[in-house]
């Protein structure tokens, strides 16, 4: 249970990085990636995954 970032759509704005409650988002190469081992889809923290809620490009932070 984790989300991933579609690299080709990522604008690398980094909002997901600082909204993530698990520090699962890191910058790598030209875009951000989500460490599936750390991602909890925000269960227990927030009603919805924060990366997907803040991402400016639709369909970019999606379930694996």
């Amino acid at each position: 249970m984790a989300l991933k970032i579609i690299k080709s759509q990522c604008t690398a704005c980094g909002a997901c990085e600082f909204e993530c409650p698990n520090a699962a988002v890191k910058f790598k190469g030209e875009s951000y990636i989500i460490d599936a081992a750390l991602c909890t889809e925000c269960v227990g923290h927030f009603p919805k995954p924060q990366c997907a809620a803040v991402c400016p490009v639709p369909g970019t932070c999606v379930p694996v």
Binding site: C13, G14, A15, E19, F46, K48, V54, P56, V57
Partner: protein, 497 residues
């Protein structure tokens, strides 16, 4: 006299005398002495406020002739979506808010600011205007300001924000001595907001529709109130979107003035399908120059209006109306740079004297106009080619924008600037460019420039526009007043009759 044709931005500053010489030409060394000792600001501003804005090109029309700003694009994250914004797209030939060519870390940004300060002595302001929201991406904004102000303590710090996250950082803003904040406020009415903002991200939730705009509006008013209460100068930017908020902006103007905004800047929507924005893709058009001026004029008497905004990029560098950002990309900035304050100090020293001289020249010219021209004479619009310093010092062929002044017996007023290069022109040739310039100058019968070739002069004349280069390197306002007097002065016989 080509010797005086220098680019202000590339001046190497050695002394005040060198500056005078390179700007005004070899025959005009030193200040033309004036007895006026006033250091006060324009008549409509109290001295304390003037002291805070006089070196800020975005807050003072007068300052933008002398001082430069730079934006560093350290804050790409945003907490709202605007229908006029799509940050996926960038074109280095484009100039509009939110557009950048490279994003910087705070450390890179600090190095770049120092490199620019060493090269551009006019630099007085560091702004962070995104490309996202500077107050939402606060950690990067704050770290950049901290690094820069440690090395250049007298640089003015300012930021732009939509106001949603700003109340969370108000204590930080005050502690960091951030003196100027620009809030983008496009509406008071959430029903109108819903047509501009599809969603916001606030308190860990994505809100949509009218609720999103209701929360955004409340936070924007809270930001404005907090900033005013803490003594920070606030400029409000509003994007004029025809058919959506054009009439509503009068209410916005009244409300932000009532709450203490210092300046209101009503900017035209920039909309093009190629920008990939919602408005661009759905055919929402921007306002015409006449529509923009109509809304601005209707707001006169409310919050003081800014009319010299260039809607610059989030990584712009230089005097307003010029962008030297491409000279300072990170690959061109040295790994190690040490700040040398000498050039900026010399510039400020020179400007202090130059300003007095110019102010006296303006007063003298306006007095002459009042004496020679009947008060009921129609006003005249005059276009000016300048590259800064408050002088007519640009070749017509080099001008990509024109400053438009209105003159009548009451005086000379800056009205607006008109750009002839707003967007990528797709490699249009010179013929097309002159045609574009002539369209840009519609309704303006006179243009003042430092020099102009015979061909464009004839083409302009055929279009009913008189090009004048005999005022080369003079101060703008006195030259505009002289042109007006030459056209309108009553014959001596009737004046004395």
């Amino acid at each position: 006299m080509t010797a005086g044709l220098v680019t202000l931005g590339s001046l190497k500053v050695a002394s005040r005398e060198d500056l005078s010489q390179s700007i005004t030409g070899p025959e005009a060394t030193g200040c033309k002495a004036t007895a006026c000792g006033s250091s006060g600001g324009p008549a409509d501003m109290d001295p304390a406020t003037w002291a805070r804005v006089k070196d800020h090109p975005c807050y003072s029309e007068e300052a933008h002739h002398y001082f430069a700003r730079m934006h560093v694009a350290v804050a790409p994250a945003c907490n709202i979506q605007c229908n006029y914004c799509n940050r996926k797209y960038d074109c280095s030939n484009e100039s509009r808010p939110g557009v950048v060519s490279e994003r910087l870390t705070p450390e890179q940004a600090a190095r770049k600011v120092i490199a620019v300060a060493n090269e551009i002595p006019q630099l007085s302001v560091l702004g962070i205007a995104g490309p996202g929201d500077a107050a939402y991406d606060w950690r990067k904004t704050k770290e950049t300001f901290r690094l820069v102000s440690a090395q250049i303590p007298d640089i003015k710090l300012c930021l732009s924000s939509n106001g949603l996250a700003l109340p969370d950082h108000i204590d930080d803003l005050v502690a960091m001595n951030i003196d100027h904040v620009t809030l983008t406020i496009n509406m008071l009415d959430p029903e109108i907001g819903a047509k501009i903002y599809p969603w916001i991200f606030h308190d860990h939730q994505r809100l949509t529709g009218i609720e999103a705009s209701r929360v955004l509006h409340e936070r924007q008013m809270l930001s404005l109130d907090l900033l005013v209460a803490r003594g920070i100068l606030v400029k409000v930017n509003s994007v004029l979107i025809p058919g959506i908020n054009d009439a509503h902006l009068l209410e916005v103007n009244r409300e932000v003035k009532r709450r203490g905004a210092f300046l209101h800047n009503i900017m035209p929507l920039i909309s093009d399908p190629d920008h990939g924005t919602h408005f661009g893709l759905t055919g929402q058009r921007g306002p015409t120059a006449a529509e923009l001026k109509a809304v601005q004029d209707a707001c006169e008497g409310g919050a003081k209006l800014m009319r010299h905004c260039r809607q610059c990029r989030a990584d712009a560098v230089g005097l307003l109306g010029q962008d030297r950002g491409q000279e300072f990309t990170m690959d061109l900035v040295p790994e190690q740079v040490a700040y040398d304050p000498a050039a900026r100090a010399a510039w400020r020293d020179w400007v202090a004297h130059e300003r007095e001289d110019r102010r006296a020249a303006v007063a003298e010219a306006e007095a002459a106009t009042r004496a020679e021209v009947a008060p009921q004479e129609q006003p005249l619009l005059v276009a000016v080619c300048t590259q800064g310093g408050g002088r007519i010092n640009q070749h017509f062929g080099h001008a990509s924008e024109f400053r438009i002044y209105e003159v009548d017996a009451r005086g000379v007023r800056f009205v607006t600037h008109r750009r002839a290069d707003n967007y990528c022109t797709g490699g249009a040739g010179d013929e097309n460019r002159l045609a574009q310039v002539i369209r840009t100058l519609e309704g303006v019968p006179v243009i003042l420039c430092a020099r102009i070739g015979d061909c464009p002069r004839d083409d302009l004349a055929a279009a009913g526009i008189e090009a004048i280069d005999t005022h080369a390197h003079d101060y703008i306002e006195p030259a505009v007043a002289a042109v007006y007097r030459a056209r309108k002065a009553a014959p001596a016989a009737t004046r004395t009759a």
